[in-house]
Every structure is written in C-alpha cells, then in structure tokens.
Symmetry: C2
Amino acid sequence: MTQYVYTFGAGEAQGNANMRNLLGGKGANLAEMNKVGIPVPAGFTITTEMCDVYYKGNCQYPPELNVEVENGLKHIEKIMGKKFGDKKNPLLVSVRSGARASMPGMMDTVLNLGLNDDTVQGIIKATGNERFGWDSYRRFVHMYGDVVLGMKPESKTEKDPFETVMEKVKVKNGLKADAKDNEMTAPMLKELTAAYKKLIKDKLGKEFPTDPKEQLWGAINAVFGSWMSERAIVYRKKEGIPDEWGTAVNVQSMVYGNMGNDCATGVAFTRNPADGDAHFYGEYLINAQGEDVVAGIRTPQQITKAGSQKWAKENNISEAKRKAEYPSLEESMPNVYKQLVDVYKKLEAHYRDMQDMEFTIQGGKLWMLQTRNGKRTAPAAVKMAVDMVKEGLITKEMAVGRIEPKSLDQLLHPIFDPKAPKKVLTKGLAASPGAGCGRIVFSAEDAGEWKAKGEKVILVRIETSPEDVAGMDAAEGILTQRGGMTSHAAVVARGWGKCCVSGCSDIEIDYKKATLKIGSTVMKQGDWISLNGSTGEVMFGKVPTVEPSLAGDFGQIMKWADEIRQIDVRTNADSPKDAKVARKFGAQGIGLCRTEHMFFDGERIKHIREMILADDVEGREKALKKLLKFQTDDFAGIFEAMNGYPVTIRTLDPPLHEFVPNEPENQAIMAKEMKISVEKVKAKVDSLHEANPMLGHRGCRLGITYPEITRMQATAIFTAACELTKKGLVVLPEVMIPLVGTVQELRNQKAIVKEVAETLIKKYKVEGKLHYKIGTMIEIPRAAITANQIATEAEFFSFGTNDLTQMTFGYSRDDIASFVPEYLNKKILKNDPFQVLDQEGVGQLVRWGVERGRSVRPDLKVGICGEHGGEPSSVKFCHRLGFDYVSCSPFRVPIARLAAAQAAIEHASERAENLKLQNHTPIRAKASEIEE
Amino acid sequence: MTQYVYTFGAGEAQGNANMRNLLGGKGANLAEMNKVGIPVPAGFTITTEMCDVYYKGNCQYPPELNVEVENGLKHIEKIMGKKFGDKKNPLLVSVRSGARASMPGMMDTVLNLGLNDDTVQGIIKATGNERFGWDSYRRFVHMYGDVVLGMKPESKTEKDPFETVMEKVKVKNGLKADAKDNEMTAPMLKELTAAYKKLIKDKLGKEFPTDPKEQLWGAINAVFGSWMSERAIVYRKKEGIPDEWGTAVNVQSMVYGNMGNDCATGVAFTRNPADGDAHFYGEYLINAQGEDVVAGIRTPQQITKAGSQKWAKENNISEAKRKAEYPSLEESMPNVYKQLVDVYKKLEAHYRDMQDMEFTIQGGKLWMLQTRNGKRTAPAAVKMAVDMVKEGLITKEMAVGRIEPKSLDQLLHPIFDPKAPKKVLTKGLAASPGAGCGRIVFSAEDAGEWKAKGEKVILVRIETSPEDVAGMDAAEGILTQRGGMTSHAAVVARGWGKCCVSGCSDIEIDYKKATLKIGSTVMKQGDWISLNGSTGEVMFGKVPTVEPSLAGDFGQIMKWADEIRQIDVRTNADSPKDAKVARKFGAQGIGLCRTEHMFFDGERIKHIREMILADDVEGREKALKKLLKFQTDDFAGIFEAMNGYPVTIRTLDPPLHEFVPNEPENQAIMAKEMKISVEKVKAKVDSLHEANPMLGHRGCRLGITYPEITRMQATAIFTAACELTKKGLVVLPEVMIPLVGTVQELRNQKAIVKEVAETLIKKYKVEGKLHYKIGTMIEIPRAAITANQIATEAEFFSFGTNDLTQMTFGYSRDDIASFVPEYLNKKILKNDPFQVLDQEGVGQLVRWGVERGRSVRPDLKVGICGEHGGEPSSVKFCHRLGFDYVSCSPFRVPIARLAAAQAAIEHASERAENLKLQNHTPIRAKASEIEE
C-alpha cells in the first residue's frame, strides 16, 4: 500500500532531503534536519502524491489516509508529551504547505491549530501564561477564518474584516486604533477572540468549528485547495512549475515565539541574499509568531550586531536607540545566537549552498522550522558561487551550474548612471537590486493593463500580497511602504531579478485618489519615477542609465564557463557599434549580420528606392552601384571589429515593399525626391503589395529574380574583405543565403557569390590569405527536410529558428497576439515558441537538418541565429545536437556562454552515467544520440 | 568503348524497340521494323548519349564519332549500292532528329542531303528524271538553308525569303505567284536552285557548302542544336520532358516520293486518332516529299476510299471531282495500298497499340520511314483501349494503364449545348475535339499576354509553326486557315487535349489590321468566338455548354479502374449540388466539406458579421443561434446526397476578416444594415487586420478562442445527422478540426464536438446507429512532425497539402506569381508545387505523418484533401504511402480513380518484381516500403 504520511522528530525521520518530489521541499528538509541533529519540532508530512490523488479523485481522500494521519498525530503526541484536543495539556499543531519548488507566500498556512474554548484553558494552565493563550487563540481564529473559511476582504481597497474588528476592540479598550498588537492585554485578546468568532458566525451563518480534528481536516483541505488558487496558478505559470507536481502538507507540533520576551521568531540566511556577502544575515521579532516576520507588518530586528548597526545607520537611528529598541539577537539572546550560528554553519556545509532558514525561540530554546537553498539576486548568486569555490565548498562546475543563465540579465542591463543628476525623494530598503524606471500605478490590475498597452510601470503598494504577483510581474519595479527585506515584495522581486524598494515608510499612498506623496512632492498615477533596488533610493522622473561592469566575480564565472563549454557563442550584429559591444560580452564572431538594416539610413533609402522603381536591369544596376560604396564601408567596419573572428553576412532578405512608403503623404515626398509622378510611386507600391509578405517575394527569391542585388552585395563584402586582408587583418566572411527551400536556389546564388569572390580575390592578390564560406540559413521547413541535398552546396547551416518556428507552427509573429496568450492560459502551449525553442516540433526539423546535412558533409558547420540562440534551454538543445555555435543578441551572449557551459556539464554527467562501462566518452554529442 | 552509332537496314538492326532511351523513339522503331520484316531504307542512329556528351563537352564531338559515322555511311552504301558524294550514282540521305518522347515538329530535319552541282547530275543520270533531280536539289538547298544555315524570316509577319525567291522565279517563267510547286518544270527548278544559292551567298557572305561530308556534319550539328532551341525548350517544359534526355540523330538513305506520279508520301494511323474509330486512316500526297504533308501546305488526299468519300462530303466535293482530283490511295495505287494494309496490321499487332506511321512510295514500292504509338484525343484513347480489350489485343490492366489520367479532363468538362442557339459562321476540320470559347488574338505573343491578364483567348493563325507553341498553350482553342488533320496545329492540340479547328479555308486573316473575316462577318481582336473541335464548327460569340456523358467506353474504363484500384476516391464539396455532381463522377464520399462557404449567402453573412461584432460570448452565441438553422439544413442536404458514404466536415477555417468588408463604401452598407456606426465597423475591421493572414487567427485557433463557434457547428452537424439517421439514412459524419499544430488543440476542440455529439445522439435516441469520427487536417508542418502525439486523439488524418505546401515551402499561394514563373524557367522548381505534390519535401512530411500516426493508431484513417488529391502523380504517391482515400474536386474524381488504378497496377508489378522469391505479396503498400 502506498505510504501517504511520513513522520519526523526527535532526531529521526522516515524521509530525507532527496525525497523533495514526494515530500515537498519543506517536508524533505525537515526530515533531513532531524537526521543531522538539528532541533526540529516533531511532525509528519502528507505527500505530494496525495495532492494528485485528491485532485484526480474529485477532491476526496482515500479512507486509509485518515488512519495514517491518526498515527502521525500519535507520533507527535508521543514525542511532545501532549495530546491533541486534550483539555489539560493540549498539543497544538501548525499545518503548512510545501511544494517541490519554493513558492513563497503562495500557499496557505494555519498555526496554533487545536485551540477551542476548552483547550485554550489547558494551554493557559500548562504555560501559566494567560496572555499567550488568548494571543494564540485569536491568531488561530483569524488565520483559520481567513485561510480555511475564506473570510477575505470583499475588494482590494477594503480592509481585512479581522483588522477592523481588532481596531474596534483596541479603541473600545482605550488603545489607539493603530496600537501595536503586543500592547493588548489578555482580557483584550480574549474579547478579540470572541469578537472574531462572532464575525465569522455573522458572516458565514455557522459557528467556528470547535473540534480539533475537524479543524485539522479543514486546514489540510485548505492547503491542498490552495494549490489550485488563482494566485498559485499565476505564480507557477511565471516560474514554469507544472500543475501535476502538487503540494505536500506538513503537520507539525507548534513551538511558540509568542510566549513571552524570552521567545522570538525569525528568518535567517547563511549569506546575504541581496549582494552575496559571506556574512550571516537575518531578521527576528521578539514575542511573535513566524507570519509576523514574513508578512512585514512589524519592522524586524537584525540577527547580528554588525547587521543591526548597519541597519541603524541606514535608517538614521542612534546607537543608543538601536540598543534599546532594536537590539540584535547576538546582543539580546547571546546563547541562542550561538546555537543558531552552529546550526547555520552545519546546514550550509551539509547542503553546500546558502540556506534560507526559519526558526522559533521558545523560552530560550532554538527550534528550526525550515531550511532551504535560499533565493538570491543574480549578483549574489555569482558572488556566492565564486566565494564557495574559493572556500573549497563547491567545484567550478557546481559554481557554473548554479547560476540561472536568465538571471544574468540583471548583471548585463544598464544601471543608473552614478554621475547623472538625480532628485532622490526618499530611501527605502534595498530589497532587490537593479534599476527600475516607469510610470506609477497603484494596483496589480493597472500594472497588467498598462504593461499590455506598452507602458513601463512601477507598482506602488502599501504592502504586497500573493494576489499581486501578476502585477508585480508586469512592473519594472516595486515600491512598498511597509515590509522588510524578507517581506513578500522583497522575496518575490529578488526571485525574479526585479528591482524592489520595500519598507519605504516615508511615503504616503492614497489608493482612492491614486496619489503618492513623498515629503512635499505629490505624484499621481502615470507620473514617472525611478527606483534603485541596489541602494533603496526613490528618485523623481526618469534617471539615465549606464552599462554594467563585466569584470570581478562575473568575469570569473564567465571564464570558468568558457573553459567548460564546447560550442562557440556568436552574436547577431548589424553594425560596427553592435559588433564592438558584442565583443565586450565575449562574442566569438557574428552569426547573423542583416544587411537590410544598412539600407534605411539617409541617402541609402533613396538609392534602394531608385532600384525598386527601375524598369530594367540597367536601371537597377545603376542604383545598386550607388549603394555599393555604403555597403563596402559597413562591412569593412564590421570586419575590423571582428578581426580574427568569422562574420556571417546574410544577403538581402526582406520583401522590397518594406523599403517604400505606404502612406499617400510619404509617397508624395518620395515622388518629389525621385522626380517622378506620385502615380508611378503608388503604382509600384501597389504592385509590391503582398497578401502574406512573410511567405512572399523575399530572401533568396529576390536574389534569384534580381541577381544584380546579390552581385552588388557580394562585391561589397569581398571588396571590404580583400582590402582589410591586404592590410593584414584576418577576415573570415561567411556569406549566408536566406530563405532557401531547394538546393537549386542555393546553387544559383552561390554561383554568383563565388564568381564575385574569386574575381576579387584574384584582383587583390589575396589568394590563400582570405578564406570564406558560402552557406545558407535553414529557416524553411523544406530546407531542413532536404538538408542532405542542400548540404551538397552549403558549407554551413545557420538555423533561422524565428522563421522556422513561424512556418513550422504556421504562426505569424505579427499576428499571434490574438490567440497565443489564450493558448498559454489554456495550456495548449507550454511556452511561447518564439521565446523557447519548441523541441518536439521545430526542434525535430533542426535535428533532421543537422543529421541529414552532416550525412553528406561531415564537416558542415552548424549554428543557430534565431532569438533562441540566447535562450538557455534552447542553447542546451543546440549543444546536444552537436552545433558548432549559437548566435544571439549582444546582451544575451553571456547568458548563452553560461548555458552552453551548463549544457556541457549536464551532458557530460548524463553521458558518463550512460557510458559508465565504456572506455571513452567523446566530447561532443552526435545528433543521433538525442532521442526523438 | 561506348558505341555511339547503331546501324539498321535489310532486315537487320543493332537496336530494337526497347532501346528508345538510347536511340530515340524514331531510331528504336526503325530498328524494330527492320527486325519484323517491314521495308525500311538503310541507315544508322547516333545515340542520345552523344547529345549529352555534345552539350557537356561544349558542343564538341569525341574523335571516335567520326570513325563510327564513316562506318555507318559504308553500311548504308553497301545495302543501297550507292556511294555518298559519288558523281555517278550518289547516295542521298535524310538527317532527322528523334528523341525519347515524341516532340512533333519541334526538332529539325534535312532531306536529300549529299546533293551538289555534280551529284545532282549523277541523280539525274541514275533516275533518268531531270525534274526530280532539280526538285530534290532545290528542296535540299531550301531546307539546309533554313535548318542548318539559319535563313529564317526576320520577323513573324515577314515571308520566308525562299518563298519570295520562288514566287519571283514562277512569275518570271510565266506562272502565277501562287502556282503549285508541281507546275514548275525542270529548268525552272534548276533556275530556282541557283537563285536559292545566290540568296544564301548574298545573305551570309559565303557559298553554299558543296562537300557532302561537310553538309552531313552541318546537319548533325543542327539536329543536336535544335534540342536546345527555344521552341523545343518551351515544348519540353509543357510536357515535362527533362533536358538531359537529349535527342538521337537518324541518318538514313533517301527514298523518293517526288520522283513522279508513281511516287507518293503520306502519314497513316492504324485507327482514327481523333475519335478512336477502329478503321485505317491517313493522308497522302502524290509526287511529294514528307514535309509537304506535315507542313500542311498542300491539302492532302485520303488513304482509304471510305475516308476519301467522307472527306469529300464534308467539303461539298462531288464524287466525280473527288475521283478525278482527290482519289484515295486505295483507288490510285491499289497494290501499294494492300502492302500498306499488311504493314499496318502487322505493326499494330506487334506493338499492341495504335500506330502513327510515315511512309514513302517510290516507283510503286512502299518504304516505311517511321512508326510510333500514335497520339490521340482522350475520347479516342478511351475508345481504342476498350476496343482493344474486346479484340483481345490487350488486357484490362493495359487498357487502364494506357489512358493518361489528366487527359480525362477533355471528357469531363462541358461541351457546347447541342440545343443552344448558335450562329455557325463556317466549318473547318474537326482537328482536336472539345469546346473552346474566347476572345480572338492573332499571335502567340498576344495569346500569352492576354492569358496572363486573365482573359480567355482563341488563337487564330493562317497556320501554326513550332514557334507558336507557347501561345497555343495559352489559348482555349486554335483556329487555322490552312493545314489538315496532321498539320502542326492539329497534332499539337490533340496531344494537349485542346480544342482545334484547322484547315478552315473560308476565313480571311489580316494580321496587320488584326481582323478575321468570315463571309460578311468581320471580327476584330478581342471579339468572342466559339470553336467546336469535335465538329469543326466556328461560331459567333459565346455559346453555352452542357455536361458530358459518363457512360459508354468511358464508363467501361472507369469500371475496370474501380475494380483494380485499392484506395477510395472522395470529393471536395461544399453544397448538396456539388455533392450530387460528385456522386455522378463516382465519388465515394466527401473528403472535405468547407463550412465557411455556407456563410456568405444572403442573410447568413449578416449573422456572421453580427457574431464578429459582438463584444462578448452572449452576443456571439445569439448570432450563432441564427446561423444554426442554416447550417443544419446545409448538412442535411449534403448527408442526403451522400447517403451511405462518409462526409468529412471541416469546422470554420478562414480568418474572420474574410467575412467583413474592407472598402469604406461596403463598410457603410454593413453599418446601415447592422444599425451601428460606421466607426464601429471600421474599428472592428481594422482590429481584425493581419500582417500574414495565412499564418494568423484562423482554423482551430478560432474554435479555441471562440468555442461557441465550434459548438454551434457541431450542433448543426449532429442535429442533421441524428434527424436523417432517425429517417433511416446512413449518415457517416467525420468532423475535421483544421490547422492543428499541437495535440492539445485537437484535444480542446474534440472535447467540444464529442460532448455535443453524445448529447444529441442520446437526445435523438440513435445510439449505436449513428457512427461518427473526429479527426484533423494535417496541414501544418508541426502536425506532421508530431503526428504520433496527434494520432492519440485523431481518428483520422486528412492531409491538407495546399497549406502544407505553403508552409513547407514558405510560399504564399497569393504571392508566388512574382517569382515562381521565374523559378520554373530557371529550373529551380521542376513543377509548381501547388499543382504537383513535392514528394521530396512536402511528401516527406506526409510520409512521416502517416508513419508516426499509424505507429500509435494502426487503424488511423488517412486521406488527402488538398488539390493534389486529383493530380495523378500525387495520387500514386498517396497509394504508395497506404492512404485510405484521396479527395478532389468533383471534375477530377474520375482522374483520381484512374490514377489510383494505375498506381495499383504499377505498384503491384514493381513489388511482384521485388518480392519474386517471397510467398505472398500484401495488397496494400506500407508507408515504410517507400524509400526516402
């Protein structure tokens, strides 16, 4: 029979850290911590399998689960020496979700479960602490009411109904409405508990459940139910987590951080998750329960003294005041602090990674409630990885493998220009680094809508909640009034590499008026604001940005990645400027140089229009001759920037109508400039119109119908190449014929290019010095299918996966907005295939193309130049198919370098596994090794 | 060493009929006739291989050819007892081309070669016939001047320069300019010869060559050269003959039809090539050479007496006049006629097919110069095939295999309504059957240009020449003033199944004024005219047409084809009317019923527009409800017409913008009708605009974003199906989801259709009686690639090879006119892939689709519904891949039935060959048997 419940406690556990798929991350680590001797309250985990069984069984449980849960409770009771529902010494439990992948704040939690009017008396008797008893009870009713019974605010702008009741009780008892919770006395909390229960009865028409078992099953249902909540679904979609994974449920004996001033609760990181600094870091609250820290309601205190002093300085708090009001754990509870330091060191060494831990201190005793590999910003990830290699904790390969390639984006994109004038309005917590600049919006809905309209927005909230994740995703940055470094906003933003300034208490937000007041500055919805997530600065208007540095730890990781990876990374660049940027990012040549972009500038567009309007070859050749000079200079600049590296130049690709104006007014201007009648211009433009330009007269179809265009371009390429070669540069031109679907097309165009090349090489006397290749873009399905024919002529293939995806799916990139978002919603597509290469469909064509091409030309050079060339999973796919290189936009070059290295690591370890018994492991994968 | 020359003569030959690829059709049959004892003048054939060697070797011959040709000449000299170039008894030869495939009139011929001022005297002495000597000489100089020396008219309208000289000589000698050639006496012909030679010297600046060897090599060069002449290239393109095949050269001893009145030359068919009638048929000219008959300059006489009498009746010639002036060969040379009858019977029995023969009678002796399987009209082919099976000459399989499927077009398309009022202007020869109706043009160039503009044209010429073939191809029909049933116009038109009326001597053509005068009627370029190629009638204006009969011999061939073929043939039909027509043509169900065509009629378009304009699901459902009734009725009509046969219905496919008007004036009408503002209409139309509608929001993408559309269509289909099933009809609906690229799309739409179907089947209580399938169109490359996934949901695949070709090639059908014609010209494409399925590219995807689909669902039903479903080579491809059916437009159903039968015959014989040693030969091919 399948085991659905796994117990842990008192240094023993049925599970371990490797069972994360079954027990969820939290459950697996709770088991593991028991095994390595860390103090953990006893408990049990209901498996993720049960979640799946539950959803597949129409939200019903199999009968055996009840027995297993009962046994689990007995296990806890035995270890803790308490009884669930007992009136004298009752066991209280927490019920928490815990999925395979961390989903911070997404899932539901219920604490202090097991309380009712009887057991609360037992707690009070057992602890001798009346206030604690009622504080726990009111917290439980509130939490259960919210999570299990669905007592939520009716609308976003409405207050939590429990908050309203609490304020009333406070005022009634002579406190201010916004008095701190710990100012409330035991009788007040008792009154509050009763008021909460009345609120629930009034609203739901039935009594709050008093049977602890009923409470337990309600909470288990709520956790499983939360897996399919809208906010969890949105989060999973963004993170790419499958619905089938499910969540586990952890039922664990309560320990109390809220039992008095020798109690506390906190969150800690073995290293700083924001900048990667190798110092213990964390926050805690005295006499509080865990959710108080995470929810960001009270400003937490620092764990280390150094951290505390730094914090005070940043917040302009005097040392005396800090010591008195916000002492560090190191100062307030030195013994417990030492225990905690031992624990964190043990855990980091055990897991060989930075840990994100939750703990509770009850009566001076430390209990660990959770540990996990901590989320971190990209700079922190890079710094930690490099540091850990230096410390001997991990290998270079582990370091390289640990950086999420996509996260490098944060390190590569501009930061605010430190020298730029800026008007700093205020400063909050530097919760997630980066530069964010956009228009102010005040709700997640608005953020989404404005983004959809193409606006950049900054989401400004008093605090964020899991309901806001979609809006946070849409925003350039997040600014919150409340909440610390571990608040919801901070954790989520860091995970996504999005800029966030949190806990910015100087700001005043008026949701109704949609205004943000900072000091005397009042800004309204739509005004521009800039956030620096690395300093916490909030700035007025748009602040200019500068390029990031690529040295230091980042450079080190890249160096290791380059040592490990086996395929080259080139860039797509159309100008000498782009080529230079890409070289800085480490590009090893150009994989795609689009020549048409060169035609739009100033005078050039006139000549190309003159060519288009010409009635015969002579007219076209005359116009092309004028373009030749420009093109030759462009290519010379690019070759110079890429001295010693190959440069793949694609001959003219877009349909000619892209060069002529469609609007009558522009046609009139063109007619005037060209000294011809408007009618003639209009007639030509009309004759060039196409029903489906994507599938029309473009690519090599142009070069075949107008061979003079190809001839001019080849002349420009080889004139520039010959001249630079004569000057001693190493020029490696690779001429790429686009949109080839039949070998005959390539043969036709190759003959033209080759004839021009050979003539110029002879003329410049650079025989044997200038080496070039002629190849083709594989971007039409038929080209991939007949690659064995095409490779008889092509010296290289470059997969143009943008067009290949368009034609393989039958999707016009320009038109998919009307259905692809719906397809993603309905799970008809897992990813937008223009972002992530569709390995099952398009990838098959790529695979066939490589296999068939190399079957007739084993040394065929193979690359990719679609946008997928910079997408990590696609890069890994290319590695496995035995590509020679990937090519991507300059800013994605480092991402591709890292992804290529990871591909090599993953592939080598898999293959080492597979080929264990063989004597050799070839370095490069053959395409045929990949299964279909 | 390769043998380049094959000799024949005196009942022996080095070649035979099976060597047609090497010796050309003419050479192979000359050899074969020798072997079966038919009198053939001795000669030799230079192989087609030499043609290839010649073109690959830069128009040079290998040295050994000279030796072989010398030996060939000696062989002829020995048999004929004459010597080439001898002054006393000179051997004269003919030099003729002869390719693998017949190319009537396309290639060059030189007769009487070997004559000069010396040898002509030898001929005169040897024959004692001075006139014959000079007649042969002047013919030779003329022909050689034209063919070898290139003495052509400067322009189309200019006269042949030799004709002008001849007229001058005639007039100078007291004859009329248009006197018949045989009125010229020996001295006149001698004078003419000298004048011809002077003409050549004046024009070319050098003497006419006198050395017979030089003449021979000049003629051989000219024949090989003619293979690459423009007209030959055009003809081959139309007929699909590869350039590499090359032509052979036949050098053969001359025999003379022009040596006196006991001499003649003629052309004969063993059966009538126009109607298939099983009677000997042919034409001859007394005292003439072969080219006089073929060129259509003199009106030839009939070979049989019956034929002659029929001809006289048609031409209103009295029996007395006929006997005196136009006697048949049967009457004029009864002995030779008997020899000829013996020969034709022998040849037809030997070749088991209708023969087209050329012969010459010299001094009462019959010589055969050529035999070949005769071209024939489609009705003649059908009649002959059926007759020959009845006669026991051939098997049913041979009969079925012998009909060119495409030629059935002629039998299936409308003929003129016999009851329609028509104004017959005149009557010519019924040279090629069919109804042709179009605007008059007078040159091949005009025909091509008008056709390109979408006009239907009738090409009207005094006579046609090989230069006119492109224009003939463009025309609906051809009308000539001169020329018999075997004239160039007649032969070419019959080969193409194009209507032709030839030898219509009543008409007057003025090329300069561009007028056609028939009696008192003067018509000008662009006027409408109708030709009946089956009766020879020339009618004024447009004459209405009626459906053809499908019974008789045609029905018999179709019956045999149906017995033989293994795959079903369905039709593409969108209305009950089309469905009924298709049933008459033998369609076994509907393979594609496009539902969108039903939306354009009258009121329906309003409802669909209402749906498009609706802002929400409710609005759309309201509009769809109004369409439901119409769709239900449509489907009921179609199901009724196809009672007992499957009907594949495709759900809505085209993008919604096809249903709304683009032009402001129509938008205004629509706004008025729908009682909304023009702005709203315009805004909606604009919002539906797509950059590439082919790759946009259409197909199942519509059904997924608007599930209510699919639901309405499913409701219509199954309401109609259930109601008819209740009435006792057998309804077999197959619902086809279009444009599927992922299995998830199909799953989504299938769920909707299935739910509707099951609900209605239950409601109508027709469980177990109504059987239906849900499947998909495979028209997106990704669908073919992932067919193993898609087949888990699809119960059938229908390959939509139109779209599949568009996406596999990246060709928009609407836009290819700008480059595909050039691609065909430059041989980049062999065929337009929208007409003939591209087996190498698109066909691979089809193959993978079938293989992968059946790998997970062995009983997957597979069909094709693109236009290729009616194209014979594509049908054969489908047979080999194991398709269950092909589907095509109603008029192509018989073509597909025949092609499918031929596929089965060809495939069975190949496989019998391959599997000789095995015990069993499975009936249907598995896809995997086909090589890639």
